[in-house]
């Protein structure tokens, strides 16, 4: 996320760091670059204008000029203001005790409403809510089928509107259905529409009037350009929205809209969609997002993901093994599988601080095929081999390659990497975590 912008601000601040003491002039230069970077990232023109002015006022002045590390102060100012701009704290859903509590999604065509409806349902299911979904999209071919299939996949309820021709009627029926089937939450997916389409906007308003949703969430594509703000403003004034879900945050440009929306329409971003999988919905954290923008990495999200994916007991065992230099090929495979649980590796690596700075590594993210290969090779080893790699001779290598559908070269490479990894671990356990944190950690 925000990698492009991060790279740009990085290079700006690298220059600032080199200068040591700040003058008004180089603040100006940096701000000009920040402005360009923000605009290039699709932050709304007016928002950028205010933002830059705000940072300038804070940056140019005694406080900064007197300080020992002015560059860091600028980074902090920009960071703080970004956090502030995006809404200081994460904002949660406010669902009432009503049965069912209705949530309505609205937005342009193709912004990802239907996928998001399913993701949100899964998110609420995990909080032990009983969730039912309904599609009020009578226009897009197979839109209802899509939501139905997704509902089945995540084991959520689904109200099948059959051939009902009126979206408002569909929603009314869905509420009844949810009520009589014991669902406490109803997520209403609506058809994508242009904000300038009066008839369709009116349809949304009628749904709102009849259903009175607890939350009306505006779904916005994170890649949207300058117009994002106009669209959201129109939806907000005609419909009244309670929050925003930003989708497609797993690409590479995303973001400008995130900065603008809260500021311009005064509504918080509540969730972000971060991947193709139904689990890929996260609470929006302005603090983390700002850190990401400034290349500080998103270590908090990473830690959280690791916590849910890796159970603590096996983590402790692993630590012990590493200390004793007993890290086996079996452990390697278990580790790979655990990391895989955290999501696509590219996404995981993107959260590591500084990773976006290492240009050479940008395309070197281990690809999923390579990982599957590694697992296959280890799977083709005998238990004995997995626990004692030294017995794997030429003949065994040939057999393993045949068994895993790879080549002897592949097996050799894996074993080489594995032994190097062991060496590194030995060093690590001697130097302790401190050496890791001091940045002696190499990615390759």
């Amino acid at each position: 996320m925000f990698e492009n912008l991060t790279e740009k601000l990085d290079s700006i601040f690298k220059n600032l760091r080199g200068k040591g003491v700040l003058t008004e002039d180089n603040v100006k230069a940096a701000l000009k670059d920040i402005r360009m970077a923000l605009l290039e990232a699709d932050v709304n023109f007016k928002v950028v204008k205010d933002f830059v002015e705000d940072v300038r006022e804070r940056a140019v002045g005694q406080e900064v000029l007197k300080s020992i590390t002015p560059a860091q102060q600028i980074v902090k100012i920009v960071h703080d203001r970004l956090v502030h701009l995006m809404g200081d704290e994460s904002s949660h859903l406010r669902l009432s005790g009503r049965f069912p509590s209705p949530i309505m999604l609205a937005g342009l065509q193709g912004c990802g409403k239907t996928t998001t409806a399913a993701k949100l349902a899964l998110f609420l299911l995990a909080q032990e809510r009983r969730v039912c979904l309904v599609s009020a999209d009578i226009y897009r071919p197979a839109a209802m089928d899509q939501l139905k299939i997704l509902s089945e996949k995540i084991h959520a309820g689904y109200y099948d509107a059959g051939g009902l021709p009126d979206p408002v009627q569909i929603c009314v029926q869905a509420v009844e259905y949810a009520k009589s089937n014991g669902y406490d939450t109803l997520i209403i997916d609506t058809a994508g529409r242009l904000h300038v389409d009066a008839a369709l906007m009116d349809e949304l308003r009628r749904i709102k009037e009849v259903i009175r949703p607890d939350e009306i969430l505006f779904v916005a594509d994170a890649m949207t350009g300058q117009d994002a703000v106009n669209v959201a403003e129109t939806f907000n004034s005609l419909l009244g929205i309670d929050g925003v879900i930003l989708t497609k945050m797993d690409g590479d440009a995303r973001g400008g809209a995130a900065l603008s929306l809260k500021k311009v329409i005064g509504k918080p971003i509540k969730f972000v969609g971060t991947g193709e999988k139904t689990e890929a919905l996260e609470l929006f954290h302005p603090e983390r997002m700002a850190s990401r923008i400034l290349g500080m990495g998103d270590i908090l999200t990473l830690v959280e993901k690791a916590k849910t994916a890796i159970d603590e007991k096996s983590a402790r065992e692993l630590e012990k093994k590493i200390r004793k230099n007993e890290f086996t090929l079996q452990d390697l495979k278990d580790q790979i599988l655990q990391i895989r649980k955290m999501g696509p590796l590219q996404d995981v690596l993107g959260m590591i601080p500084g990773f976006s700075k290492i240009k050479a590594l940008k395309n070197a993210a281990p690809d999923e095929g390579e990982i599957a290969k590694t697992v296959a090779i280890i799977d083709s080893m005998t238990i004995k081999e997995r626990y004692n790699y030294q017995i794997i001779d030429g003949r065994r290598r040939k057999r393993i390659a045949r068994g895993s559908g790879t080549t002897v070269q592949d097996v050799n490479r894996l074993l080489k990497n594995y032994t190097e990894m062991r060496k590194m671990m030995k060093k690590l356990s001697k130097g302790g975590m401190k050496s890791l944190l001091r940045g002696n950690f190499s990615f390759k």
Partner: protein, 308 residues
């Protein structure tokens, strides 16, 4: 589908861009009409161009160019500025005004690609209808086997337009679908084969690899295929559209662009920048929800509709 053919396409493009013109041109009118050029003129101009998603760097370029001309007294009043802008954009876009010409005596394959939600499937429905209206035989292939109900969505289009569809089950290998489609097209001597692929963010390496594989299989089954790799871009997208064009082009070679959703208030200005940087032909634009709201891209009409 019923449609007001009376106004013709130009009329509808103008209608489709009405909102665009309102925000874009009204500003420009206010800015230009009868006024002398001042530094504020350029500040306002910057806001308008950036607001149209032309991007800050490109906007800067345009403004520098015009400042230069103003200095050389080529621009007396601000009105000339408008003409100049129009000419600049037209010059860039004209180079990309290359219509897709499909020979009648062969199987011609069009692979439609793009990120999620740009309107690929809808564009395919419109394309199928368009080619069919030209009296060509058309076949569509549902190679988006990933998204739930994508196949059903395309099936509905195939019934609406009345063209055959080649499909498999959800989760099937897209390459297998494409393989079937080409075999079938060869057997039936179909003229145009349009292939729907799953939306994918250009940053997903594995999914881009999958596309490469689809391409490979096509080329193996039918030399020269895909004859057209059409990247569908959403006009509401900001600067990322440039990256999309760049990476799709680098990874699988894009031979044509379609710009959709021009009927909103987004300006679609990024296409000018894409045209300038990559010179990829812009084949079609989508200006509405009707079946025939997809038309060949014509630079002059596009720029005129923006400015008139």
């Amino acid at each position: 589908m019923a449609d007001n053919k009376s106004g013709g396409f130009f009329q509808r493009l103008k209608q489709g861009l009405a909102k665009t013109r309102k925000s874009f041109v009204q500003n420009i009118e206010q800015l230009f009409t009868g006024k002398a050029i001042s530094p504020e003129t350029f500040d306002d101009l910057e806001e308008i161009l950036i607001g149209a998603d032309l991007g800050p760097a490109f906007t800067q370029e345009l403004i520098e160019e015009m400042k230069g001309r103003a200095k050389r007294h080529e621009l007396a009043v601000a009105d000339t500025l408008k003409q100049l802008l129009k000419d600049s954009m037209n010059k860039i876009l004209q180079a990309c005004e290359v219509p897709l010409i499909i020979p009648k005596d062969q199987v011609f394959t069009i692979m439609v690609v793009g990120v999620n939600g740009t309107g690929k499937t809808t564009t395919i429905g419109k394309l199928a209808s368009y080619y069919k209206s030209q009296g060509r035989s058309v076949l569509i292939a549902a190679a988006d086997t990933f998204r739930a109900a994508a196949i059903e969505q395309l099936e509905i289009w195939s019934r609406r337009v009345d063209v055959p569809i080649i499909k498999q089950k959800m989760g099937a290998d897209p390459s297998a679908v494409v393989f079937d489609a080409i075999r079938s097209a060869k057997a039936r001597e179909t003229n145009v084969v349009i292939i729907d692929t799953a939306g994918r963010l250009h940053t997903k390496t594995n999914l881009m690899e999958e596309l490469k594989k689809v391409r490979r299989i096509m080329g193996r089954e039918l030399p020269g295929a895909p004859h057209e790799t059409l990247l569908v871009l959403d006009a509401t997208t900001g600067q990322n559209a440039l990256v999309q064009a760049k990476i799709f082009n680098r990874e699988i070679g894009v031979t044509g662009l379609a710009l959709t959703k021009l009927d909103g208030t987004s300006k679609g200005g990024i296409i000018v920048r894409i045209a300038k940087e990559f010179q990829i032909p812009i084949r079609y634009i989508g200006v509405g929800e009707h079946l025939d709201d997809l038309k060949p891209f014509i630079s002059r009409e596009f720029v005129d509709a923006l400015f008139e």
